[in-house]
Symmetry: C2
Subunit: 362 residues, 2 copies
């Protein structure tokens, strides 16, 4: 995680388009069809553009995607198929494909059906880590749809409220809602106070964590980031009784049920497939409810009102979900994605191993 931590001057700004092209070639070299490789490359580069490095190319190389494809644990050419469907609902088998590919395929079905019928939903089992939850809710926006994306996690790393043992994943919720002139509303939140990446930042900076982040191995709230990372017991959003931690826990369990329940997969990895996760996707067509221009006008008014309300002490403005990520994306599309030199070197190493050209410079 040192890459995430580096001060800005050390970073190298690279070209987003070239980076996506390189990642596409890498995935093709790892056995994926070109079209699917492009989907995965888009997903990881989109994370870097949105400012979520934890889900960007550094994770892609250091993390599970490339090793999974190499080991065969993740199938480069899965047979993704529908197991049950109605006009507006479906259940899928992801066949251990890359989560990006599975999610993209299923969300395409959801979007098509929602465009036709006003709303549509799908649950999918036997998938893999699918990157940022917002990759799929975001897909709905270009069709003027509201997009919805949930996933459960591979390994339990979150305790229930009042519990001391991890029983849930970070189980994020993403909702994307189109606006007119304003950048869209795009919520993408783990149902915990924070994800592990934030604790790693405190560890790196040598700072204590607030007691609302995680429990230690003794089952009590800890302020030691090392202990929190060793214990793997994140607290749900709200954390404790005074923070209403039962609410974050309630949301996390809801995500679990929509993903693991409606997909038929269940709620934890099985011995014969320890990496399996399940997702749930949805879309609503606003103009199935009211004229689209009327909806977009309401959205613009509401979102603008939020950015114009008075900030509290210590803040210079009020934001809304998706606005900081949208601003990050504008900056990085114009000025390049700032990567830590060690990440660039790892990508160069991958290029060498796969026999690919490597040029991601601006």
């Amino acid at each position: 995680m040192a890459a995430t931590a580096a001060p800005a001057p050390q970073r190298v700004r690279v070209d987003p388009g070239k980076l996506e092209d390189f990642m596409t070639e890498a995935y093709v070299a790892l056995g994926m069809p070109r079209e699917d490789a492009r989907v995965c490359a888009w997903g990881v580069v989109f994370a870097d553009l949105r400012g979520h490095e934890s889900h960007g190319v550094s994770n892609n190389v250091l993390g599970s995607y490339v090793p999974g494809l190499r080991s065969g644990d993740t199938k480069a050419r899965p047979n993704i198929r529908i197991l049950q469907e109605t006009t507006v609902t479906s259940r899928w088998d992801g066949d251990q494909g890359m989560g990006f590919v599975v999610g993209h395929r299923v969300m395409q079905w959801v979007i098509e059906r929602a465009r036709q019928h006003g709303a549509a939903f799908a649950a999918v089992a036997n998938s893999r880590h699918y990157g940022m939850a917002q990759c799929y809710s975001y897909m709905a926006l270009e069709h003027d749809l509201i997009g919805y994306s949930l996933t459960n996690g591979v390994t339990p790393g979150v305790v229930p409220f009042q519990g001391r043992e991890s029983r849930l994943g970070t189980n994020p919720i993403s909702v994307a809602i189109p606006a007119g002139e304003m950048p869209p509303y795009l919520l993408d939140m783990a149902t915990t106070t924070v994800a592990f990446g934030k604790i790693q930042n405190y560890q790196r900076d040598g700072k204590p964590i607030p007691p609302t982040f995680a429990l230690g191995r003794d089952g009590r709230p800890t302020t030691d980031p090392n202990e929190a990372l060793a214990a793997v017991r994140l607290l749900p959003l709200g954390a404790n009784k005074e923070g209403s931690g039962h609410k974050g826990y309630g949301l996390g369990l809801m995500v679990d049920i929509f993903c693991g329940g409606l997909s038929g997969h269940g709620f934890r990895a099985t011995p014969d497939d320890p990496e399996a996760v399940s997702h749930f996707f949805g879309a609503w067509r606003p103009d199935a409810f009211l004229p689209l221009d009327e909806f977009k006008s309401l959205m613009d008014g509401r979102l603008r009102e939020m950015t114009q309300t008075a900030p509290s002490e210590g803040y210079d403005r009020v934001l809304y979900a998706g606005l900081p990520e949208w601003e990050s994306e504008q900056d990085k599309r114009a000025n390049g994605i700032p990567l830590h030199p060690s990440v660039v070197e790892k990508l160069r190493g991958l290029a060498g191993e796969l026999g690919l050209d490597f040029d991601i410079s601006r």
Copy 2:
């Protein structure tokens, strides 16, 4: 709010069935059709059964329902109608009817369509306070559906994350999911750390509130419950930067958009209708995704697992959303609803005013 606060020995246990019958007669006397009166009576008594007195008969008498009907601000015989619809979506005008009646009517449409097509959704404008959000998600359970219920609030009483002025309501989310042998999952949460009732409890007990509950009139977190109640600036779930308050704010804004946006109503009361609120309802049919017995078996396993995992220090067990309310309901159906004597006297007074018999004894 003294009624909520009384120690148990002072309470009078009353008969839930008789209480509901009395409330039905009261609403009929206030001009409502008997069928609609029954729906409202069920809603307020259900709140008392579930242990949410803030939404029970005491609020009904002391609060807005009866005065609203008397003033004519809430219509006893509204013309609730569909403004736009597709097979699985619709938008409604509540015509300033009682929120219970509007919500019940619209949720019935949602349930019928979801049973036919797998999922269905509706937004409704020009309604009134609809009691507990779970009244409507709960309706789905007897049809083996997942139920969904959102509402925005009449008056802004919640600040955006990083903001100092109230711009949102407490905007609750309720999700009800059927199980087999286990009591159903039933989430019903304001998207704030707490609602005002909780702060009133601290005020009554003369205790300081945690700084995660609300801001004072100076726009800073306050520990004084009197100041918090005077300022009307609740904090979103997560409260501050260390608690990830942007998440609760993000959820609150999502509720606002589904209710006020998709209903076309917009995001605040208008001068010509200062009491208007809007709602959003939904339902999914689990057996549109997978066989129902398979889903229920997964639910039972997951919910049971949660109740069996080890509690943390200071707690005797782990619960899940809806379980404590289900236990409350079992107790109160068997042993009566414990009302404060002052609430009983107020109901008796209402009976006198309306010329009704009054017997709610067990």
